[in-house]
């Protein structure tokens, strides 16, 4: 079973919840797909056992074969290639290139434009006790996280308990993570901003047709704003983490109350499992 934890707004407690949840349900695989700013490893502190480069193909032009016709640059949807006919020069802007391959497809001169691998990030594997760790780390300035997220996903074996930490937001990287999971937990906080962004993510998850529930983080008795939203939208708040200074203090030191939430989160997993049977 694959369960993804998403949020919409950043900083609602995705990683706090996901790492606690993975620990409580060990043996499990924890996957950090927030490749632009992964942080699950700060709390799980896995021993990294394998690290490999993630590369994608980018164009390289051979000056002796290129006729500077400019077709590759004209067809590049991201303007990552510039061909300057009068001075017979070519420029490549790697931070704009999405490795789509159109340039090499349209180049009419054999051997003038070749595709070469360029490292865009890494994939890491490790283990923290009975929690296996898998995650990606994208190089700074890369235009899109999606290809690395896809590559991380390819490392997941289907027969495991898979707990996936999704990136924040509601754009392509999140869609790439949520599209083939079995269940989605949306971690939210009872603040106007939190609820607003949650509502956007709810729309997305509904579009994807995934079963989902809300996890309320920073829950405080008396603040019913998230509860009211959930009621109105007919969504279950399936779990709550209280708003406590101690939890925040621990978080700031990379320490989470694993034991305290173990039983509750084990039951939560079983509840979802029963629901999906």
């Amino acid at each position: 079973m694959k369960i993804a934890i998403a949020s919409g707004k950043g900083g609602t407690g995705k990683t706090t919840f996901t790492t606690l949840f993975a620990y409580a349900n060990r043996p499990a695989l924890y996957v950090d797909t927030d490749v632009e700013e992964p942080n699950g490893h700060f709390f799980l502190k896995p021993e990294i056992t394998e690290e490999k480069d993630f590369s994608e193909l980018v164009p390289e032009i051979k000056d002796d074969k290129c006729t500077f016709c400019g077709i590759c640059a004209d067809e590049c949807p991201y303007k990552a290639l510039v061909i300057i006919k009068p001075t017979k020069k070519w420029l490549f802007f790697p931070e704009l290139c999405h490795s789509c391959g159109i340039c090499s497809y349209v180049c009419p001169e054999k051997g003038a434009l070749v595709e070469v691998p360029r490292k865009k990030g890494i994939i890491r594997k490790g283990k923290a006790g009975d929690v296996r760790f898998l995650g990606g780390l994208l190089n700074l300035g890369e235009p899109t996280a999606v290809p690395l997220i896809s590559a991380v996903k390819r490392e997941i074996k289907d027969d495991e308990k898979v707990i996936i930490d999704a990136p924040p937001g509601t754009s392509c990287p999140v869609v790439e993570v949520l599209r083939d999971v079995d269940y989605v937990l949306l971690v939210s906080e009872p603040t106007p901003f939190g609820i607003h962004d949650l509502s956007l993510t709810v729309e997305l998850v509904r579009d994807l047709g995934k079963p989902f529930s809300i996890v309320e983080n920073k829950y405080k008795e008396g603040n019913t704003s998230l509860e009211e939203y959930a009621k109105k939208e007919n969504i279950e708040i399936i779990y709550r983490i209280p708003f406590e200074e101690e939890i925040a203090k621990g978080y700031s030191k990379g320490e989470l109350p694993f034991a305290r939430f173990e039983q509750g989160m084990k039951e939560l997993y079983q509840k979802i499992e029963r629901r999906l049977k």
Partner: protein
Amino acid sequence: MKIFITSTGNSLKSKVDPKFGRCDYFIIYDTETKEFEAKENPYKAGQSSVGISLAQTVIKTGSTVAISTNFGPNAHRVLKEGDIKMYKADEDMTIEEAIKNYLNGKLKEVMSATSHEQADKIFPHHNE
């Protein structure tokens, strides 16, 4: 020789547009025929790479000089490699004045791009 100038409007009385890639219009002035052509910048509202696109336009139009107030790093790189000389006109100058000043050797050549940090200060809302 053709001069490419970023402009806020479509006449020689218009002011110079201080942003190269996201200028409203551009004017190409031919120093031999003394005629000009004004065009709307098709990349003005583009999501990204607008400087690169407009710099390629400069080269494609056969202009050899580009006048603006601020050239971004990507645009600057393309224009430089295309052997286009870049000159700085203050933004309160009209196109006419900018051309005159250029022809009289009064404009300063732009040797380096306006960085993102500088652009944030000059155009506080340019990324919105």
